[in-house]
């Protein structure tokens, strides 16, 4: 049976060679390498057919089209929808133009985004936050008024806060492909377009809750969870139950002993692995409903993992050790007793962080 295996194609991304099956997209090939080589994706969602190509966050430069035709592609291409060719050379984070464009995309996505992260339920697990943190600027050049919309209840469980939406179309594809009938789509045009049900109709079917999981920002939120908590105070565990409608494999989020929300399980690229039904998601909020499998694996860089573990379990890294060893008391003649958080002067970090005193670029 081995001889019918498809011939693998070789592609080089940021100088790293990887072998993938023909037909794989550049993004998937880059994800196989992992780390910083994988371009960010705001609209592409692997489980949803036809998604991608819209946000332009994953634009990369193709320095050589293929071994047969090594001409570079004239424009940056969306890596999530461009299939690899044998001998293709792709530049992602090594190309200046790609990084400049990505910065511009962050800026474009944020000019009409309310930046209400302090009150947004998605904060801490938001794709846009991560994207902006990794690739964006700290300031904005946009001075005009941002577009705003009224909040809309779509059904008993879901609230749509269109002001936050970045129009990735993921929820539209979900409603098209996962649920039985098409329940919502896009109305209007340009920056006035909005995700909506027709005449504020309720979304009503067993799998509608999945639109909340696929939303990269806080535009579609779980009404049973809204404003209840911050994600970094909660503890996710993998759990399952015998569900007649779906696989029943979920992530259950605890605050103390209380189950405060249930979501589908996600992979390291924040993509749902198995869609779950509304009963599991919205109605089973007792520990007795679930068989707990164990803690969910959360990346260490994620804010969700903050404050979850005893300090002595975390191996102090080199920088921390060095900081502790070189710490010297500096009398900065301030009454620090009144400060809630003690503010340390930059001099204290000077030997450890050589650029701590430099002015901001």
């Amino acid at each position: 049976m081995e001889d019918i295996k498809p011939q693998l194609v070789k592609v080089t991304i940021d100088g790293i060679e990887v072998e993938v099956e023909p037909g794989t997209t550049i993004l998937q090939a880059a994800r196989k390498i992992g780390g910083n080589v994988a371009p960010p994706a705001m609209c592409y969602y692997q489980p949803l057919k036809g998604s991608g190509g819209k946000c332009r966050a994953c634009l990369v430069r193709v320095a050589a089209g293929s071994a047969k035709d090594p001409r570079p592609m004239p424009k940056l291409v969306a890596s999530c929808i461009t299939p690899v060719q044998d001998g293709m050379i792709v530049e992602n984070s090594t190309n200046e133009q790609v990084l400049t464009t990505r910065k511009a995309i962050v800026e474009f996505l944020l000019i009409n985004h309310p930046l209400d992260c302090p009150v947004c339920d998605q904060a801490g697990e938001c794709d846009l936050q991560n994207f902006a943190f990794n690739h964006g600027m700290a300031t904005t050049r946009y001075e005009e008024e941002r577009r705003t919309f009224e909040k809309q209840d779509i059904g008993p469980y879901i609230q749509l806060h269109m002001t936050r939406c970045i129009l990735c179309y993921r929820c539209v594809y979900t409603a098209d492909q996962i649920t039985q009938k098409r329940v919502h789509g896009v109305l209007g045009r340009g920056d006035a377009s909005e995700i909506s049900t027709y005449i504020e109709k309720a979304i009503d079917n067993d799998f509608s809750g999945n639109v909340i999981d696929v939303c990269p920002v806080g535009a579609l939120t779980d009404k049973t969870y809204r404003f209840k908590n911050r994600v970094w105070f909660t503890k996710p565990v993998d759990a399952h139950r015998d569900c007649p409608t779906c696989s029943g494999k979920t992530t259950v989020w605890y605050r103390g002993d209380e189950v405060i929300r249930v979501t589908a399980r996600k992979n390291e690229w924040n993509e749902v692995t198995e869609f779950i039904c509304n009963t599991c998601r919205f109605e089973k909020k007792k520990t007795s409903d679930w068989v707990i499998e164990g803690p969910t694996k959360i990346s260490r860089s994620s804010v969700i993992s903050a404050n979850k573990y005893r300090g002595d379990l975390i191996k102090p890294d080199f920088q921390r050790k060095l900081a502790a060893a070189t710490y010297t008391h500096v009398d900065d003649e301030r009454d620090t007793s009144q400060l809630g958080i003690q503010q340390l002067t930059p001099e204290r970090f000077a030997p450890v962080l050589p650029h701590a005193n430099d002015p901001e670029p």
């Binding site: 819209k54 969306a78 400049t100 996505l109 050049r141 129009l167 896009v186 045009r189 340009g190 920056d191």
Partner: protein, 446 residues
């Protein structure tokens, strides 16, 4: 006098009816093609003619036809793009309204060449009366046996469908047009796959402009070589130009490609020159989306040679000193036109028409419009100009379809050539916001 191919019989009374059109030699191309030529032969003639797409991109039509995939058992479609909505372009409207049979005849010949048994004409939704004219023409052609089952006893069937558009500029982009034709929201598709492989209903499809298709019947009657002999080099044939703005004789003109811009602009045969007592200030040569040119670059190339009405000559010098022929929307400005206001107006159009699918265009067009609005209304600051240039640069080339480029080019080119005018608006807000106020500083007028 230039050679007329499309508008040869435009002044014959009753040319919109079948009888008069037939008397003027109409439908002979259909007879010739279907009775004496193979479909491949027709494609070959069109290839020889070297006619380039008249919708704006200028892609050779014969080459587009030869790219059409021909898998067994899958229908192929020809779609005529009559969703002409570009500000400054109104040639297809004129052609369809006055000589509808020219398009119908072209559609029959082209469909025969491509092996399509069902072809569509996607007409801009606002032109309801043109749709009625076309439908009447189709009924007449059908009654005469040039459409329907077994055309001229050859066994070839063709049905022509006129489809009114949804009223969006974006539906003129070929893949958005196909989506709209399928009954969906007119969002452009990601390419590849190109329509030639997966187009309408996921079948191989050719999308051509009205004017391109209308040339097909002349090419069949007179041969591809005769067509290629007209014009200069790779810009063969004739082109309809929609002339508008501050000229004595606005209208639709058919020119042989290769006429000097100066002659076209000042000759009494065509535009007739700038209106009396005024001077040429700027020109948009190919519809609102192509870069605007200042007076000193319009009639002469950067190296001093005369600029011609061809694809190559107009784009000579890249975007630094050139522009594009585009769809032939020839908009002329005299010194009373305010470039800032005009740029804002164009920008407002693209903001309104962006489909909102991809982020650079959705957000960038709105941003540019708001900044231009600010400058025009006296609230701008100097860094706004650089901001506009930067935003335009970041939209260009990063979008799914060419609407992003079309929105970015007019802004970038206006600032490139008329930066002092933008600066004047910022430094003299009180004067600039007076009704009819125009920058009177140093500039080249012709």
């Amino acid at each position: 006098m230039g050679k007329k191919i499309l508008l040869e019989h435009i002044n014959v009374p009753g040319i919109e009816t079948y009888d008069v059109y037939r008397k003027q030699g109409g439908y002979t191309a259909v007879e010739k093609a279907i009775k004496t030529m193979s479909p491949e032969g027709v494609v070959e003639e069109v290839k020889k003619a070297g006619v380039r797409g008249r919708g704006g991109a200028g892609f050779p039509m014969g080459m587009k036809w030869s790219f059409l995939a021909k898998p067994e058992g899958v229908p192929r479609y020809l779609v005529c793009n009559a969703d002409e909505s570009e500000p400054g372009t109104f040639k297809d409207h004129y052609l369809m309204k006055n000589i509808p049979h020219l398009l119908i005849e072209g559609m029959i010949v082209s469909s025969y060449a491509l092996g399509a048994n069902k072809s569509f004409i996607y007409v801009r939704g606002e032109l309801m009366y043109v749709i009625r004219i076309l439908e009447k023409a189709i009924a007449e052609a059908k009654a005469a046996g040039f459409l329907g089952k077994n055309i001229l006893g050859s066994g070839y069937d063709l049905e022509l469908v006129v489809h009114p558009g949804g009223g969006a500029y974006i539906c003129g982009e070929e893949t958005a047009l196909l989506e709209s034709l399928e009954g969906k929201r007119g969002n452009p598709r990601n390419k590849p796959p190109f329509p030639a492989v997966k187009g309408l209903y996921q079948c191989p499809t050719v999308v051509n402009n009205v004017e391109s298709i209308a040339t097909a019947s002349w090419i069949i009657n007179n041969g591809g070589d005769a067509y290629a002999a007209i014009g200069i080099g790779r810009s063969s044939g004739t082109k309809l130009i929609s002339a508008s703005g501050h000229i004595k004789k606005p209208g639709v003109y058919e020119i042989e490609l290769g006429v000097p811009v100066e002659e076209f602009l000042y000759s009494d045969e065509w535009c007739g020159g700038i209106r009396d007592g005024h001077h040429l200030k700027a020109l948009v040569a190919g519809g609102s989306s192509v870069p605007i040119l200042p007076a000193n670059l319009i009639t002469k190339l950067a190296n001093g040679e005369p600029r011609l009405m061809t694809y190559e000559s107009l784009s000579d010098g890249g975007f630094q000193t050139g522009t594009m022929l585009g769809s032939g929307g020839f908009i002329v400005f005299d010194e009373t036109a305010c470039i800032v206001r005009n740029t804002w107006n164009f920008s407002r159009f693209y903001h309104h028409e962006s489909c909102g699918q991809c982020s650079p265009c959705r957000e960038g067009t709105g941003w540019m419009e708001k900044v231009l609005h600010r400058i025009e209304h006296g609230h701008g600051s100097m860094h706004d100009i650089d901001l506009l240039v930067d935003v335009a640069k970041k939209i260009e080339g990063n979008t799914i379809c060419p609407l992003g480029d079309a929105a970015a080019w007019p802004v970038a080119s206006a600032i490139r050539h008329f930066r002092d005018e933008f600066e004047w608006h910022i430094t003299h807000p009180a004067e600039a916001t007076q009704p009819g106020a125009v920058f009177k500083g140093e500039m080249a007028l012709v």
